[in-house]
Amino acid sequence: MNFNATSGARHPAQKGSRKKRVSDTAAMSAPAYPPPYNPYASAVPGNMPPNMNMYDGRYVLPPPYTASPDYSRIHPSFPPADQGFSIPSQFLNEPLVANVAMQYGQALVGSGKQLVGQELEKYVPFSRIKYYFAVDTRYVTKKLGLLFFPFTHSDWSLRYEQDGPVQPRYEINAPDLYIPTMAYVTYVLVAGLVLGMQDRFTPEVLSIQASTALAWTVFEIIVELITMYITNIQTNLKTLDLIAYGGYKYVGIIFAVLLSILFHKTGYFIGLIYCSMSLIFFLVRTLKVQILPIGTSPSHHDPYMHNSGNKRRMYLLLFVAGIQPFLMWWLSFHLISPPVPKS
């Protein structure tokens, strides 16, 4: 399809086909088109034999333009064979033009959306976050079981794709952000519940608890990041990974606080100690793969790595794992109730 006015002169054989196409579109829509074509159709039979004989070397340039004044009178615009630049309503009614306009509009919207997405990506990495929420029920149940009883799990290695770890849906050892987020919200709700049972509840308490827990998590992650920068340890851990590993402690906190409802102080401490041990075990086994260098790696691939790096990595690992029980205790000990005195 061509909208060019001079294209008819270049390729006279197209005139016959254009006539056919124009009559097709005239049959489809645009009732204004058939009348102006009549003088064109009457002028064409005289041109048909020269079209068939174009190989004689004769160009049929003169004949169509002698007919042009005829239908420029009837159709006050360019020749309708151009199918464009006419009265706007007829322009938009033309289905071919409407299709092109729709595609152009959709392309504009698509590029606008892409631009907005790129700008937002700079501040909040949405595509990275989506990876951490790619979980399913089977993964969540297995992970929760692993958080409470990691002692029998044997294979802690991560499978990798081309640019990152496999999605949590397919890999039980990969970190996710779904469990920490849910556990954080549940922690705030359980805190409200427990305080309500002790008649210590006010609505501000909920927001204070939420803000406190969030502040401690942010502080812990900042300390970990600064430590990793200062000690110059190169790992594959990203910030979101650290957020994920820091959020697993809320599961233990919830368990301990729920135990404290039934068994008061002793139940709370038993639950806290058990959850701390299992969380420490879980974190040490998981992070050992990522922080400590693999013992079987060839030594020539990194001539700049010292043996002292191992010591630093071990300290970092112990720090990350050891701060968890302390924070678990700090975030929950004010929620437990004193034992009810027997009257």
Binding site: S211, T212, L214, Y229, T231, P303, M305, H306, S308
Partner: protein, 73 residues
């Protein structure tokens, strides 16, 4: 306990302020903590001290940069 986000923000601001107002020439060099006083080879791992100095220096540079001064207006 009630260590909320606001308290964290306050603490961060005070720490950043402390890092910025430490004058290099007057205090740090005298105590042997100047930024140009460490000599180390290219291939070795940077020591903890040099990393801390780099961190302090970069925080100071960012805080004094033009971007933040534009934010004030």
């Amino acid at each position: 306990m009630a260590f909320t986000l606001w308290n964290l923000l306050e603490a961060t601001l005070l720490c950043l302020n402390a890092v910025c107002i430490l004058h290099e020439e007057r205090f740090l060099v005298k105590m042997g903590w100047g930024a140009n006083q460490n000599i180390q080879g290219f291939g070795e791992q940077p020591s903890v001290r040099s990393q801390v100095f780099n961190l302090v220096r970069s925080i100071r540079t960012v805080m004094r940069s033009k971007y933040l001064s534009i934010l004030c207006y």
